[in-house]
């Protein structure tokens, strides 16, 4: 057995510290690579590229380029929470994947569909934009018009509070 430095994966601690600052991102270190997250994962069942245990291994190493680069698979996750259910360490792999998505979004990289839905929400406080046709349909069922959303309150909550540490 040789001891060639080229074969050794170097842990990127700086990236891991950044991930740990996201909400629940600090749980990643408890992963012991048992693979319980794989069996029930629909994305792993239906895709050759997606494997939550491999994602967690890359997280443990801090392989930023593979996790967040052009070939990132994190948006293949179906958000089903089966891995959260199965994980004996309560790592919540789905939440780590969401932390990674948050990191991508902070860099302005977000799938088009997601950008569209979140923009609608940020501008209107709703995921489905209001239109008079909606109230017309509701009236047919004897339902009152949609109750207004105080958008300025929602928008205030999108911004950090003074002195907020991220």
């Amino acid at each position: 057995m040789t001891n060639d430095d080229n074969d050794i994966v170097k842990v990127d601690f700086a990236f891991k510290r950044l991930l740990a600052q996201t909400v629940e991102g600090d749980l990643a270190n408890f992963c012991y690579q048992c693979g319980a997250c794989v069996g029930d994962c629909p994305a792993a069942t239906y895709s050759d590229d997606f494997n939550p245990r491999e994602i967690m291994l890359k997280v443990l190493y801090g392989l930023e380029d593979e996790l967040l680069g052009e070939d990132s698979v994190i948006w293949e996750c179906t958000n089903c929470y089966a891995c959260h259910e199965r994980c004996p360490q309560q790592v919540k792999p789905v939440e780590i994947i969401i932390s990674l998505k948050n990191m991508l979004a902070a860099r302005g990289r977000i799938p088009d569909v997601v950008a569209k839905v979140t923009k609608t929400f940020e501008e209107t406080g709703r995921t489905v934009p209001y239109s008079p046709a909606i109230d017309k349909q509701r009236a047919k069922f004897g339902l009152p018009p949609l109750s207004p959303v105080p958008v300025e309150e929602i928008q205030a909550l999108l911004e950090p509070a003074e002195g907020e540490v991220t």
Binding site: E76, T78, H84, S99, K101, F121, F141, S147, P150, L157
Partner: protein, 297 residues
């Protein structure tokens, strides 16, 4: 009457008013009173907005919960996504006081405080726990006998179970029992545990998954696919057209939201429940109207 703040979310009030109508008609008949939550926003959604900015997601969810706290009641949700967002927020902020402080510093900007005094219940569990199967059964004026309902739980009603606290995610009973209570026959098909695939941003995974799921439902000769989430509903209604075309198969399995079925069983006519808006219309349900007419004659 047990009172709850009604959190309708975005999809049901805007896209599926027939579902909201059914909820508002059926719940009082089960002894459950709904109080409207003025000023509520999107929960926000647990698949897109949470993935963009989880801290803002928590703050806005906490704002929604604080509206119910003002009324001193628990929250009832009618969408699995809203249930996931609000329940997860409650649990995270309960377990992590620092995070709760952080969220409250944001809420202070709009003069609100989140306390954590209102709990969150999905409407299916409210029907099960507050009314009970016997009360539901007693509210039925025309049991949906002979109707085979394939069950689709979706993901966020059950998982993660330590947060959702609804049922055993490996062997859930709640939807089967709710379907039995209205006289129909629940069917657990071989792919019952699969996800609707809405959150996934590559096409092949949800397409193949839905193809397998619909095939399993078809093999059971189920009349309809019963569910309790409007996001899953959209996947199986509009989405089923895409799958049928892609795989050149016609399963023609209409998805139906459970509380519309309950309304029908409580005697609300088919035509008043908004089924005509569906891509796949559950016309099989019309026979219960016809049977009622025959019985009256």
């Amino acid at each position: 009457m047990k009172r709850f703040a009604f959190f309708p979310g975005c999809l049901i009030p805007a896209r599926h008013p027939g579902m909201e109508f059914a909820i508002r008609v059926t719940l009082p008949r089960l002894g459950i009173e709904l109080v409207d939550l003025e000023g509520a926003s999107c929960c926000p959604d647990p698949i897109y907005f949470k993935s963009k900015d989880k801290l803002s997601w928590l703050a806005i969810a906490a704002r929604n919960l604080s509206l119910a706290e003002d009324l001193g009641v628990d929250v009832v949700t009618n969408c699995s996504g809203c249930t996931a967002t609000l329940s997860e927020t409650w649990h995270l902020l309960h377990e992590d006081p620092e995070l709760k402080d952080k969220v409250n510093r944001r809420l202070a900007k709009i003069g609100r405080t989140y306390k954590g005094t209102s709990r969150i219940r999905h409407i299916a569990t409210v029907a099960r726990d507050e009314a009970g199967y016997d009360t539901i059964k007693a509210s039925v004026t025309r049991p949906l006998e002979g109707l085979k309902v394939a069950i689709h739980y979706g993901c966020h009603l059950l998982k993660p179970s330590r947060i959702m606290n609804v049922d055993n995610p490996d062997d859930p009973q709640v939807l089967e029992n709710l379907v039995r209570a209205i006289g129909a026959e629940p069917v657990r098909h071989r792919n019952w545990y699969l996800c609707c695939g809405k959150a996934c941003q590559v096409e092949d995974i949800p397409n193949n998954m839905m193809h397998d799921l619909l095939g399993a439902v078809h093999d059971e000769s189920a009349d309809i696919l019963g569910m309790i989430c409007p996001t899953c509903f959209g996947q199986f209604d509009h989405g089923q057209m895409k799958i049928a075309k892609l795989f050149e198969e016609d399963y023609h399995t209409p998805p139906v939201y459970y509380f519309q079925l309950l309304a029908l069983a409580q005697g609300i006519p088919y035509d008043q429940l908004g089924f005509d808006k569906q891509r796949f219309k559950p016309t099989v349900l019309q026979r219960y109207d016809e049977a009622a007419v025959v019985a009256e004659a």
